[in-house]
Amino acid sequence: MKKLPDGRWIDEAPWSDDANLSALERSDMDAPNWVLVWRKFKRHKLGLISGIFLLLSYLMLPVAGFIAPYTPNERSADYLYAPPQSINLWHEGEFVGPFVYPTTATADLVNYRWTYETDTSRPMPLLFFCEGERYNLFGFIPSDTHLFCAPEGATVFLWGSDRLGRDVFSRILYGAQLSLTVGLIGITVSFALGIFFGSVAGYFGGRTDWAINRVIEILRSLPELPLWLALSAAVPSNWGPVAVFFIISIILGILDWPGLARAVRSKFLSLREEEYVRAAEMMGAKPGRVIRRHLLPNFMSHLIASATLSIPAMILGETALSFLGLGLRAPAVSWGVMLNDAQNLASIEIYPWTAIPMLPIIFVVLAFNFLGDGLRASLDPYKT
């Protein structure tokens, strides 16, 4: 807007021929659905950032072993409860490149704890693409190359080391492999059950609907955690970590589906009266086909958005179970298992870095929440 000398206002923006066209004729509005959704989603900055963060986190999972300087159960017996070390670039005003200062541990026999002294006179440059412990890239390619590791005679504990002298940073990267996938497997189970029962109840109605509805009500009225506890207590203790991991994620999913089923059911109740459903039925489509081809695609995107919002609950659930010792157990590494070490006040006071795994949990949960909010807002066609 610009004010002319005679007091009138004038819009400086060049005249666009598109402005008078209705929405359908404008080329920028007549785009495939996903382009429209993407355009709206892009404006949701917090959701976009969260989405990118989550994408990067999941992409990191298969190559966690490469990024981590240590393997999860590699012990440095001389460095128990070592505090976090920083990576420096400058030594006494001189540029040396990334390096660490070596530390030495002494036992403080008065307070019964380890104290660490940093020797700031000897900068020790980090090694890159160096050889370390063996691990499996993508889960099956054996390799021993790490992105960076500590020089001989020093350590690189970015976030400190734990009770057994294992690197917290590396363990967080490895822990992500289980903690982040628990939510995905759980949501798959819950999605399958929720859509199946919800659509059966909504489509057929009548007695089926009544029965399924009662089950949903009962399951929703029960406190989740005690049931999770009871179900995980039923997992035999002699099963391997992988089996326990799968069964835990399935348990998390089994108790999560009622919410989803309710949403699906209420949608189906209104959609099944539409003409196109009648038409499909008259042409002889079986209920299964009508549900899968004609009804579900209608609101699949909304279901995905709500699924995104229920992943955090599962991640927190796994953490809580492992923390209580009923979820994943010791040789397996997950964020909950790691937090098990930070269970008492003493470790939070003396070794606060053992509680660091809570940071990735908070970030991931927040990111899923924001991403879900953003998706939900941009998938809603009536919102601009």
Binding site: L222, L227, A230, L324, A342, N344, I362, N369
Partner: protein, 342 residues
């Protein structure tokens, strides 16, 4: 009269639900292979203690653990005569805890009331915090008040409960001199109620209430804010404002009442989450609620204790949900009585 009929109907559905829940719970606690006594018998046999075996065998028949599972269930609930006659949950017998070698009612004892107390305090906290904050966040939407409230709320949602508990305990003790652990000072345990004891319990409740309530309060606040915003954009609010109604009355007279219904109805969703949270937090903080006994019972397959605790927790949520349904009907004249729409 209509209300009374609805209340009775609601009560009966609650009892039926409880019955289904009891089956579910019994199945779940019997999922792990074996039971406490057969594990013990195997252990005693392995170490060659014959007299112990005889006692355990006796207990097995005494508590009907050698019968088929459906019969065990009926005896447990009290719908069939057991070895001691009709004596199950319905008749007020909560069973025997093998782990503690005492009746379950003695093991849980005071913990039941403390559990109710902790959860009640948390629910109160949620409402007391969420109500003013939600209204203010809506009235001053997109200002720093709104953003701060949303930020704190999101943080509360995302932080695992148990960690929040540990951290708050640590800092609460360091800076505000709040007591650590437990629900009362040790000297009051087992003492009769007195004013000092009540005070001690109240001080100990601060951190647990806060921890259990935060995530619920955050969710509740967001919902109230959304509802209020919907109401505030309606023409009647505009009219009221145009006629010069003061800001407080403008908010409280109609929009708040409209936005309030979902607030009450929500307790059905809120309560299960709160009870879950209180179990976890109790374990971490060592509160004398039934949370810790549930954990030990589950770990050692002490089935009657675990079953009773689960039943109690379920009962608590079911009663809470029922009360919220009844309140909703009282508050909102538009809701029709009867089975439909529930």
């Amino acid at each position: 009269m209509m209300f009374l009929r609805y209340a009775i109907y609601r009560f009966i559905t609650m009892l039926l639900t409880l019955w289904v829940v009891s089956i579910l719970i019994f199945v779940i606690i019997n999922l792990p292979p074996g039971d406490y006594l057969s594990n013990q018998i195997a252990e005693l046999r392995a170490t060659g203690q014959a007299e112990g075996v005889a006692k355990a065998e006796f207990l097995r028949t005494e508590y009907a653990l050698d019968r088929p599972i459906w019969e065990q269930y009926l005896i447990w609930v009290g719908m069939a005569p057991g070895p001691q006659g009709w004596y199950g949950l319905i008749q007020g017998n909560f069973g025997w805890s093998f782990e503690f070698d005492r009746p379950v009612s003695e093991v849980v004892g005071d913990a039941l009331w403390l559990t109710v107390l902790v959860n009640l305090a948390a629910v109160l906290f949620v409402y007391l915090v969420a109500l003013p904050l939600g209204v203010i966040a809506a009235a001053r939407s997109e200002t720093w008040v709104d953003y701060t409230a949303a930020f704190v709320g999101y943080l509360g949602l995302a932080t695992p409960n148990f960690l929040l508990a540990l951290i708050l305990f640590y800092y609460g003790n360091k800076y505000f001199d709040l007591p650590i652990g437990g629900l009362m000072s040790p000297e009051y345990e087992g003492e009769p109620m007195s004013w000092d004891k009540v005070k001690s319990i109240l001080v100990h409740l601060i951190v647990p209430t806060f921890v259990i309530g935060t995530s619920g309060a955050a969710a509740m606040m967001q919902r109230l804010r959304a509802n209020m915003l919907d109401e505030l954009s309606k023409p009647y609010v505009e009219t009221a404002r145009a006629k010069g109604l003061g800001p407080a009355k403008l908010l409280a007279k109609y929009p708040l009442r409209m936005a309030f219904n979902p607030f009450v109805a929500d307790i059905g969703n809120l309560l299960p989450a709160m009870v879950s949270g209180s179990v976890l937090v109790s374990v971490v903080l060592g509160l004398q609620t039934i949370g810790p006994s549930l954990l030990t019972a589950l770990k050692s397959q002490d089935q009657f204790l675990a079953g009773f605790v689960l039943m109690f927790v379920a009962l608590l949520t079911l009663i809470g949900t029922m009360i919220s349904d009844l309140l909703l009907v009282l508050l909102d004249p538009r809701i029709r009585y009867g089975a439909r729409g529930s």
